[in-house]
Structures are given as C-alpha cells and as structure tokens.
C-alpha cells in the first residue's frame, strides 16, 4: 500500500514536472523548487481529490514542510476511517 509521503511524492512530481523527485520529511517551499503560491493550490487540491478529504484554511496555515503535510493528511484519513 502506498504511504502518504509516496503519494505526495507522486503528486509533487507530476504537478511540478519533476520526474524522480524524492521528497524528505524536512522538505519545504525553501528546498523544493516550484513549490510556491502558484503551484500550492493545485497540490492541495490533488491531495484532496485523490484521498477524498478536505483541508480548511486553519489546517493549511500550519503547514511548514512535508512532515506537517503528511501528518495532517494522515490525521484526516484516520478521522475519516473512524467516521465510517
């Protein structure tokens, strides 16, 4: 089963057009070229679409790096699983 960071890697790779990119938990907009205010809305939408979850502004406001995005995504998924 695909891990969250693998899914994020796939999404970043596709939207930023960077085949072979390998995301680390410490990566952030400062270390990933192309992760900026132009691409971020699409990245977030793609994660939501793929996993059928939804992020709100307060949640996104706390995202500093990949680790935060993985943690938020996983917590959304586990919340959804608990509701089912």
């Amino acid at each position: 089963m695909q891990t969250t960071i693998e899914l994020l890697t796939e999404i970043f790779s596709s939207l930023l057009k960077k085949p072979g990119i390998k995301l680390e938990m410490t990566d952030s907009p400062n270390t990933v070229a192309g992760w900026d205010s132009l691409t971020y809305p699409e990245i977030v939408s793609k994660i939501e679409e793929k996993l059928d979850i939804e992020f709100d502004f307060r949640e996104l406001a706390g995202i500093k790096n990949i680790a935060d995005l993985v943690y938020l995504t996983d917590s959304k998924l586990s919340k959804t699983a608990n509701e089912d």
Partner: protein, 220 residues
C-alpha cells in the same frame, strides 16, 4: 494634531474598517483591486472573502486582523495600517494568503488565478523572512496631511520591535506609479532598494503601473 487621537490594535468590531482599508489601499490612485483581477471576482465578492479570511484569525500575513492598528478619533476609526514579521511561524505570508483564497474561493476562481498569476508573477518580489512587512494603509481623506500615517508606522514598529528586538529593518512594497503611496512612504522613512518591472502590457490589467518597488526602513 487632535489631542483625543488614539492608536490601538484592531479588534473584531474593526473588521469592516480593515476591509475598507485593504480595498482602498489596493485601489490607490485608481479604481481596481488586483485580487479581483487575479481571481475574476467583483468587489463585493472580494469583501466577502476578505471578511471570512480576517475572521479566521490567522496571524502574520496581509489579511490578519491582529496585525492591524487602528487610529481612532472621538470614537471614529479614521485610519489603519497592517504589519507583521515575515515567516514568524515558519510559513510565508504568500503561502498563508493563497491557502486562504483557495479555501474560500471556487475551483473556477482558482483555475483563473493559475493563468493570471503568471502575469503578476513577473513583478512579484518575494518577502524576506525575519523582516517586518507593512501592507494596506488607509487614512480617511479629511485626516490626511496630519502625520497620522507616520504615527501608525512608528506605533507598529515600536510594538513589533519590542516583541522582536533583533529585527533591523521594515519593508513595504508599492507600485511605483502609485505616486501618493510612494511619496508617503518616503516621508515615513522608507527608501527604494529594489525594483521589478514587466514589459507585458497585460500587467496593467492588474496594477496601476508595470513596476513594483521594494522600500526599506532601517530600524537602527
């Protein structure tokens, strides 16, 4: 200067005045709001979205209520200005802003942004972390020329510098052709340190002019 003048931090009841501040500051010498052009929304929609963002209570970007100071005279709001320390919690103001608009606007608006932002991006100057950022000033017309803008700048700097004493400079970005704002900031002690221009005529669909300037005020 009127003696009963007060400068205070913005509170929830100031939201409408802060929205007016953002709108009027955006319009400058003209009549257009760049956000409306960027997302293909009208002024009413922009005001609605701004209200939602301000109410969310997130700090350290252009739409943070807690970053605004209000000038009050005899119980009336007459001026406002916002400032924050860039990147304080490890997230840039640019990311906060786009996260906010993405949350409160439709997919259609965001798709429009994808194409329009590439035009605007030509004169975007990335904000530097660890520097105070000023954005959105508005003074009611009848209160201009009374040094209120300077008082606001000083008040914001004093408060921010008390919290963050290691910071050595403050920045503001202005469209160069917005001569009123440019000259006002020169009077407040800011100097131009960087310019970015676009030769794409489409830039004028978004801004009053084709050049953005970064102005700096040294704090010591």
């Amino acid at each position: 200067m009127p003696s009963e003048i007060q400068i205070r931090n913005a509170v929830d009841s100031d939201i409408e005045f802060v929205i007016e501040t953002i709108v009027q500051s955006e319009k400058g010498d003209g009549d257009s709001i760049s956000y409306c052009r960027l997302f293909n929304i009208d002024e009413d929609e922009f005001r609605k979205v701004s209200r939602k963002i301000l109410k969310a209570g997130i700090s350290n970007f252009e739409f943070s209520l807690s970053n605004f100071k209000i000038v009050e005279l005899a119980g009336l709001q007459v001026a406002a200005y916002g400032a924050w320390l860039e990147g304080l919690d490890g997230v840039s103001s640019g990311m906060l802003k786009i996260s906010a608009f993405r949350t409160f606007l439709s997919k259609g608006n965001m798709a429009y942004y994808k194409s329009s932002a590439t035009v605007v991006d030509e004169i975007t100057i990335k904000r530097k972390p660890g520097i105070f950022q000023f954005e959105s000033i508005y003074i009611l017309e009848e209160f201009r020329g009374k040094h209120i803008g300077n008082m606001l700048v000083q008040s914001l700097i004093n408060e921010l510098a008390t919290k963050h004493p290691a910071v050595t400079s403050a920045h503001v970005q202005v469209i160069k052709q917005n001569s009123v704002s440019l000259q006002a900031h020169v009077k407040y002690g800011f100097q131009i340190i960087e310019e970015k221009s676009s030769l794409n005529p489409e830039i004028l669909n978004f801004y009053l002019g084709n050049t953005r300037v970064l102005m700096e005020k040294k704090l010591r």
